[in-house]
Symmetry: C2
Subunit: 350 residues, 2 copies
């Protein structure tokens, strides 16, 4: 029926989402006016603005960010790489990141990448390709490829959770080494001599490694023996009970166990329960992270409080500041403190 008016191409909206051109036609104005009505309404006459607004409502128009991003060379998208999503520590961290993003009108990609931070670049590349303007990585970045990528693409890159003195890349987080020292010293002060450490996924994990180093160093300082066990949490069929039992009941049994993550402590606690070993009368137990449930266990768990959400927020805000105001990223060290609860006591009288 109606013939094309200008020299314009498309006729109608057959099936796709309405574009700015559809909107302009519907409102009987130019696309430039539509754009202005949407982005700088004050610069457009009331009449025009109303027409556009009415058409937006009627057509259910939503600006396509991809067109906009291409033009403005900005996406307001930031990507986060973390070990896994279904783990309270990381999801609390991610929640912190997202709260900062939302406040600033950004949206976030999340990508679980497993425990090995030596293979990050592939995932980072995908995010960059998909428009991410900055990348937040949980933990230390151990992938030189990612640094190369960063250099070529010049995007803000920040490492969060672990603080490392003199890190190449800006990092905000805690010092796992000294936090662990605090914990070990606490046990020593209580009179413990035979102290074990339970770790998980140690390979290529700077957090676990720093904690192990601290434990080893303090024990060495005092000339005390080291009992280090690596528990594989990723395979549920590998039951850690026998190894724990050896630690808890054998000839060489220990009076305290440092669990390098709260979840490890949860498992250990349930094994103790099963074996009839009392906590803290027979053995003292500590965690690391202060997850929500640490205080709800029986007995409540002594652990290290880590402000994971705050760290995530800080990282995200820094990346945003860099993107918006060009403010350079900087490292920041968060303090930790030990939360002393009933899972820790004096060693049993022999």
């Amino acid at each position: 029926m109606d013939k094309p008016r200008k020299t314009q191409k498309k006729e109608t909206v057959p099936n796709g989402r309405p574009t700015i051109l559809d909107l302009a036609r519907h409102a009987g104005v130019s696309i430039a006016t539509v754009s202005r009505a949407l982005n700088t309404p004050d610069v457009v006459s009331d009449d025009m603005r109303r027409k556009v607004e009415a058409s937006v409502a009627e057509l259910g128009y939503v600006t396509s960010s991809v067109g906009k991003a291409l033009r403005k060379q900005r996406t307001r998208v930031i990507g986060t790489l973390l070990p896994q999503l279904d783990n309270p520590l990381f999801s609390v961290f991610a929640a912190g990141v997202h709260s900062a993003l939302s406040e600033a009108g950004y949206v976030g990609f999340i990508q679980p990448v497993g425990w090995d931070n030596r293979q990050l670049s592939k995932h980072a590349r995908t995010m960059i390709a998909n428009g991410a303007e900055g990348i937040i990585v949980f933990g230390r970045i151990d992938d030189p490829d990612l640094f190369r990528l960063q250099k070529a693409q010049k995007f803000p890159l920040i490492s969060a959770y672990s603080y490392h003195e003199g890190s190449d890349v800006p990092c905000v987080g805690i010092d796992n080494y000294s936090a662990t020292k605090l914990l070990v010293n606490l046990l020593l002060q209580l009179g413990h001599k035979r102290i074990a450490m339970l770790s998980a996924n140690m390979i290529a994990n700077d957090r676990q490694q720093s904690r192990i180093d601290a434990y080893r160093d303090v024990m060495a300082e005092h000339g005390l023996p080291v009992f280090l066990e690596d528990i594989d949490l990723s395979s549920p069929e590998a039951d850690p009970s026998p190894r724990l039992e050896k630690l808890l009941k054998g000839e060489n049994r220990v009076s305290a166990i440092l669990c390098n993550r709260d979840v490890l402590a949860y498992r250990t606690l349930s094994v103790c329960m099963k074996l009839g070993i009392r906590v803290p009368e027979d053995v003292s137990l500590t965690g690391f992270d202060e997850l929500e449930y640490a205080s709800l266990l029986y007995p409540p768990l002594t652990t290290v409080a880590v402000p994971a959400a705050e760290i995530g927020r800080n990282a995200a805000r820094q990346v945003i500041s860099y993107l918006e105001e060009g403010r350079p990223l900087s490292s920041y060290r968060y303090d930790t403190h030990v939360i002393l609860r009933q899972s820790v006591g004096a060693p049993p009288a022999t």
Copy 2:
């Protein structure tokens, strides 16, 4: 030194990321060849391909998805709306979604939106604007605006976790009503007569509401009294202990408490501990969701197993199938089962 060869505009890469044009210049080929070398390498001569690959490596080139997306009208981005991120139930769900996305080469936005599913459209709009091609919503969608948006934009929209017979929008998930009936009946069979239900964030939450309905209906069937408490988990300062104490110790004390979420059960358990009330001797306790820690508590928690990760995977896969092959979305109902553990026993002999 060197003058522009063709009629091309940009000279070098002053500060931004390298584009396909930079790459083409560097490799001494046309942008079309670069594109082909990257996307359909087999259709390009070995010589050209190698040149391009070398330049990619040297320049650290990463395809800009925004250009590509604009051209192909595809982004391979899917958005997920869920109540919060820092809660095991939702993060397990999100992990399921993301595992399916990764497998298919998609990336995911995640947006925490709080408990009220009547205000979803704003968040969905942001995601659509940012290129999301489909939206997954945790729980029932109670926002007519979102349906309007969906109609205008024609994107795949799916509700996950709650299954509702005859839902307008496709939904994959569990039937909260019948799952709860199972749980209540279990307690009745054990001889419990005074059974309370603890709920949280009931307003505009279809899951809690369905569970409450089931509880009410079964109790009514048996002519038994209803004790319903709404606990506000979002404000930590509002201590629920006094109300729980009344439920647990008063004249009208109950012999069993149904907690509508595992986290509620955790809290209740710790209150019991504090009050010296034994579980299950004095009171039986149940949860709902089967979070990772339910089995680690003391006593281990009786709860309802919900395949949250699998539900997330299903929802994501459906959206992808729709996008890739046009396969229409369909609803799917997952079975649940009660996991009977030591937190439940017979009522105390009066």
